[in-house]
Amino acid sequence: MNKTVFLGALTVAGLVAASASAATLDDVKERGTLNCGVVTGLAGFGAPDANGVWTGFDVAMCRAVAAAVLGDKDAVEFVPTTGQTRFTALASGEIDLLARNTTWTFSRDTDLKFDFIGVNYYDGQGFLIPKELGVASAKDLDGATVCIQTGTTTELNLADFFRINNISYEPVPIETNAEGQQQYLAGACDVYTTDASGLAATRATFEAPGDHVLLPEIISKEPLGPLVRHGDSEWADIARWTLNALISAEELGISSSNVAELSAAPTDNPEVNRLLGTEGELGAMIGLDAGWAVAAISAGGNYGEIFEKNIGENTPIGLARGLNAQWTDGGLLYSPPFR
């Protein structure tokens, strides 16, 4: 009997059980880039410019964290997310930080298992409507067709607002701001509603911004902030204190133009010294270099600079500081002390 040799080879595809690691900081350092979730495109807050470089108010947060952790503000992989995909992207570990005008709510913080690291923009929900319709108040919107981004808090606020005022509306669900803008300009909806800052940013890109008005009603509180996964407090601390460093820097008068000078040698102000790492060991306490805050501030400037450059009154978006001024100027920005 001829002995045949059994040559069948079974290729076993190794199932790599990639579990979401708890040590995000190590992952980011090993990877060399920060995966940061941003909007798919909202002028002033996060959009690629003509050269394909992401810029904007929320994008600056990503760059500051990347600079603090990796020392390079360009070591960021931007992941555009929609209102529906953002939380899945963060929960699954696809992104390390979500900086995408996301409202801090109880259930998102607790039930969805995320940690909001602070508020970088105090906002509220508004309505954008063509001037020619002659509507003066949101309470006159009975029967209107409203464009609304799905999967957002604004969608729920809208339902509540119309319910409370006992008026009806027809929702047109959209997924991205660009789609909303296109539908609104095509007249597929009478009103576009989202955070007032987003409406201002969207209106700024219209051909004739003057033909559209924001209704006076602000129907909700929308504290927008960056968030990270729940359960990795070290990483949350880094992101939280990077944001605080940007806010404190403005309060302490540290800007991108003088940060190099101030960090070269200890100054008279001990808090500036602690923040910039010329005194104390604050950097080591969160597992970063002593110069982490210097890098973060150098990336795009302090909070005020980032605001003015991207969405401030001298930009097409033209937002006033309002609630987002420092507490010393009557606003709500109030960073805990660096001590």
Partner: protein
Amino acid sequence: MSAMTDPPKPAFRLSQLIYDTRYRSITIQVVAFALIAYGIWALVSNTIGNLADLGKDFDFGFLGQSAGYDINQMLIPYDNQDTHGRAALVGIANTLLVAVMGCVTALVIGVLAGVARLSKNWVVAKLMAVYVEGFRNIPLLLWILLIHAVVSEALPQPNAFRGADPSASMLLGDSVALTGRGFYFPRIGFTNSLSGTEAVAPREGYTAVASGGMDWLVILGVLAVSLVGIKLIRNRASRIQESTGVRPTTWYTQLGLLIIPTGIVLTVLGATIVTPYLKGFNFTEGMFLRSALVSLWVALSLYTGAFIAETVRAGILSVSKGQSEAAAALGMQPGRTMSLVILPQAMRVIIPPLISQFLNLTKNSSLALAVGYMDVRATLGGITIAQTGRELEGMLLLGAFYLTLSLVISGAMNIYNNSTKLMER
């Protein structure tokens, strides 16, 4: 005579599991089963582990919580205070609606295009070839977006119908309005509605009308009884024809039976035609076909219709040429040859792939959110997941729904297939 003895039976050796063809197949099956079982176990345990790492549990309780969001197209009553489960049902109803509408029109378009592509008329045949290749070879999502863009950008918005000198006007005697937001048609309302809960005057000074489900149930019930009556009349006519050879004239009794009882019911209920008119921001009253539904429906029908056309063409070509020649020899006209000889035989080839096309259309309807159509993928699989953070549960439910729906369609079509397939003795 020497006693027959069995040949010595060799003892079983482990190497036989690989080298002996008798045992090898068993070995391969056992190994394959073990690998698949390991794969499933690894996936499940990995999921459980990851959920535990994130501190999440596995719980369908969110279906009972208040949804909080509004849905524009509701086939069943829904309010934003209703539960996520109810919102999912609204989405399911919308999915079923577009799937049924799409399957019917895709079948009609497909059969017409498939037959026309075999036409001897060069222009018709080539036009159909362009249609089939154009729709088959461009992704469905692009067609949906394109058709939606055409509908919503090219047609006037309700605002254009307003004012002393409107730039757009309604069609068919001010009864139909085609707007970028959707199409408004007249509807039938009942002044003496049985349910009558939401009776509102269409305009100031008009009589209040409503259209409840009860009214339609009564009308459909009467119509069904009439149809049964017509069937009985026809059966009786056939019996008389068989016994006497003369078929009695029954068309007027049939027609009367069809029209008179339903007409009486409609009159008693006070049926009136309610035309849409502008009120506030939008048209009101009338029947509203949203542009999202229209564009999704048209795109799904045309796209799937192109595939069905090819299936139909293959089916027709599979019927031997002798059949049509025989029909021609008997003096049948080409149209009757097609409908009485060719298509019935072609159906045997057409139906099995047709089932797949219906399944594809149903599953492709999940692209609905691209144009803002609130199907089950947009409600349960979209907003509910985003608001509650139950990705795994939501996706599993969604998968179970599509699986069930596909199996039901497939089962129903298989029953039909069994009734038409060639009976072999």
